[in-house]
Symmetry: C2
Subunit: 140 residues, 2 copies
């Protein structure tokens, strides 16, 4: 398979992840993920959830508290070292929840591994964008 | 090489990254990174810096504004699909800067790729920890 074709596959898998979240359907979400112990997830402002049980519980709680959510994916870049790929992007999120509607930009890293049934998400790391790049943080 | 030996290599490369940052020495930092166009970095609260030129400028600015910085790495886990590895961890950061001393927890994903000269960092994604895991965010 050409690199371009593989990149299209990876970006499609990345989009399916956001489609699953937009659908608020845990079945779709589970189909996207590596459902083993290597799964790991950071939601904006949170620490690590590790292993699919913890990660799934996190998504279930988010889905239960979300009335509407839409992801516009910006600046998506897929880097591939077969059978691993990572997508870096900005999520522009429009959502409604208990506190009403909101729009927020979130920086995301999504690591995928290719197995016999396709690309599966093994790490999702999402973080609030407060300042534009490349303005550096005063201390990290 | 055994998986355990490779994991030790990866965790050592991860520690060298934090040692470089503690040393405030750009030469050490550059030696840790993939210095090509694939390099990508998110500092806490920021958007993506892409390509080594942008990433380096970010580190230079951080180093210039930092008097003292120390990283205690917690909950480090290395997952490896040779020649790619990703470390997920919590950085407990003690630093002094223009606003005085501070301690902060940061969630980090560090993606490494093995080349002829060793493991090099290609993605660093760091984000503020405001809530403990696995408490879910209300909306992402």
């Amino acid at each position: 398979m050409s690199t371009d074709a593989m990149r299209e596959q990876v970006l499609a898998a990345n989009r399916r992840f956001y489609d699953a979240l937009e659908s608020l359907d845990m079945g779709q979400m589970e189909a996207v993920w590596d459902t083993g112990g290597a799964a790991a997830c950071v939601h904006p402002g949170s620490a690590w959830q590790r292993g699919w049980e913890e990660v799934r519980a996190g998504w279930e709680a988010i889905m239960a508290s979300t009335g509407y959510i839409e992801f516009e994916i910006r600046e998506a870049r897929a880097d591939i070292v077969d059978p691993v790929a990572w997508v870096t992007c900005i999520e522009r999120i429009t959502s409604s929840g208990p506190q009403g509607p909101s729009v927020a930009d979130v920086a995301a890293t999504n690591v995928f591994v290719l197995d016999a049934t396709g690309w599966h998400l093994t790490v999702h790391h999402a973080s609030p964008v407060i300042r534009p790049a490349p303005a550096p943080a005063p201390a990290e």
